[in-house]
């Protein structure tokens, strides 16, 4: 089969960095001006390509944090300790720099208004990024689909987008937001403690009878465990969508 070289949507394009904004100690959002961007669905990702002066290239995928309705394209990157690309994006990249990217990519891990609800979102650490896009999109289109986001993080300071999502949830009866903190929690913390397990999911997630669309995003082990518990609890695996991150990915 001749290689399809379609112009347009999946060619590499240059975006200009408008701002690198710290979200937590380990993550920053890259706010980008991408004049050739053609729009995206909530949950999709981009491939980013870096080229060193000697021609050495590195490529990684990052979930899009901005909603389709947002004016600027935003990616949120977690700095991995031994990373090759993330320390550059989080630590060196600055306003005015150009970033080569292609996208949007992915048609599996997306939520559109027509998909409806209820929607169960389960995020491990930086797995929350595509959910921000979905939640902002849901708000922008005025969807009343019931949504629950359960996010696991090491500490409250490690929860990405907390200042943005808490008010959103507080003002929306149909949006339930909760965190479970795995390593440390503030004094008097009334939220959940410890890693997500089957008991917590049975307690806070939609029931199988609710027939939710479930999205799980985070490190591979986290995703597999959560999906396994949901299926063991009676959820239909065909309504569970997963996206695994790894050191080589977002």
């Amino acid at each position: 089969m001749a290689r399809a070289a379609l112009p347009g949507r999946l060619t590499w394009q240059l975006a200009t960095v408008v701002e690198v904004a710290a979200e937590t100690a380990q993550t920053s959002s890259l706010v980008l001006d991408a004049p050739k961007w053609g729009g995206h669905h909530a949950g999709q990702h981009v491939d980013v390509r870096l080229t060193a002066e000697d021609g050495y290239e590195a490529q990684r995928s990052y979930s899009i944090a901005s909603a389709p309705e947002d004016r600027q394209l935003v990616l949120t990157v977690e700095r991995l300790e031994d990373g090759e690309v993330s320390p550059y994006l989080v630590g060196e990249l600055r306003a005015g720099d150009e970033l080569e990217l292609r996208g949007p990519i992915g048609g599996y891990f997306i939520w559109r208004q027509a998909d409806g609800g209820p929607v169960q979102m389960i995020a491990g650490g930086s797995g929350i990024v595509p959910f921000r896009s979905m939640l902002r999109h849901r708000a922008a289109v005025g969807s009343s689909a019931a949504v629950r986001l359960l996010c696991s993080a090491r500490s409250l300071e490690d929860v990405i987008y907390r200042e943005e999502l808490e008010p959103l949830a507080a003002g929306d009866e149909a949006f339930d937001l909760r965190f479970t903190l795995t390593r440390e929690w503030p004094e008097g913390w009334t939220g959940h403690r410890g890693r997500i397990d089957q008991a917590l999911l049975e307690q806070v997630a939609f029931k199988p009878a609710d027939q939710p669309l479930t999205y799980i995003c985070g490190p591979s082990g986290f995703v597999e465990a959560a999906a396994g518990w949901l299926v063991a609890g009676g959820h239909d695996p065909r309504h569970i969508r997963t996206e695994r991150f790894g050191p080589s990915g977002a």
């Binding site: 870096l50 080229t51 060193a52 021609g55 590195a58 090759e84 060196e92 990249l93 720099d97 150009e98």
Partner: protein, 201 residues
């Protein structure tokens, strides 16, 4: 070439004697874990190493006997086709020359095969004459599963995809039969000093 990303240089590169670095390679102090599949966990009492194929008689060693074979401890440089090189790595293992002692064959090629199904092809002359080992220790410790333990093939003069992790034996063959990556276009020989990354290089 793609536009340059200001200030990006990849991993911090160690300062080294350039004569030890094959063309296109970068020296790292890490030891990246790169696998085509999940880490197998073969129990040692089920493990064996076998020489088979175009031989008068196949020969096989279970784990305990394998560890009793004469072994060598040595230091060498390794070069991965993904462009990282790691210098002065130390290993302990059994020389393939030792394993082939007394093996009667007239053919010129081997296919190394591993738990999980991985294969790679080599010329017999690339695994003999002190050029290859079946290694079970790295840096003085038992080789970790993610790096190929209990034992991996070690052929440092060729790109590291030839140093098959989780190796279980060698099949001697009359022809050079492309292994897993070679069948997709990686070089049958794989000499990093001649930058033989892909077929035709």
């Amino acid at each position: 070439m793609s536009p340059i990303s200001r200030g990006f240089s990849g991993r911090r590169r160690a300062e080294v004697d350039p004569s030890r670095v094959p063309p296109g390679q970068y020296v790292t102090r890490d030891f990246p874990v790169l696998s085509a599949g999940p880490t197998p966990h073969t129990q040692l009492d089920a493990w064996s190493f076998t020489i088979q194929g175009a031989v008068a008689e196949p020969v096989s060693w279970p784990w305990k006997e394998f560890l009793e074979l004469p072994s060598e401890t040595f230091t060498t440089d390794i070069h991965c086709v993904t462009k990282w090189s790691k210098l002065d790595t130390s290993w302990k293992g059994v020389s393939v020359d030792t394993l082939l002692t007394g093996v009667d064959t007239s053919v010129g090629y081997v296919t190394a095969f591993s738990d999980g199904g991985y294969t790679t092809n080599l010329a017999l002359e690339d695994v003999t004459g002190g050029k290859a080992w079946v290694a079970y220790e790295f840096a003085g410790e038992r080789l970790e599963p993610e790096h190929g333990g209990p034992a991996r093939l070690l052929v440092p003069h060729l790109y590291f995809w030839k140093s098959a992790k989780w190796v279980r034996g060698l099949t001697l063959t009359p022809d050079d039969e492309p292994g897993f990556w070679e069948g997709y276009g990686y070089h049958n020989h794989g000499d990093p000093w001649r930058e033989q990354r892909y077929q035709g290089d």
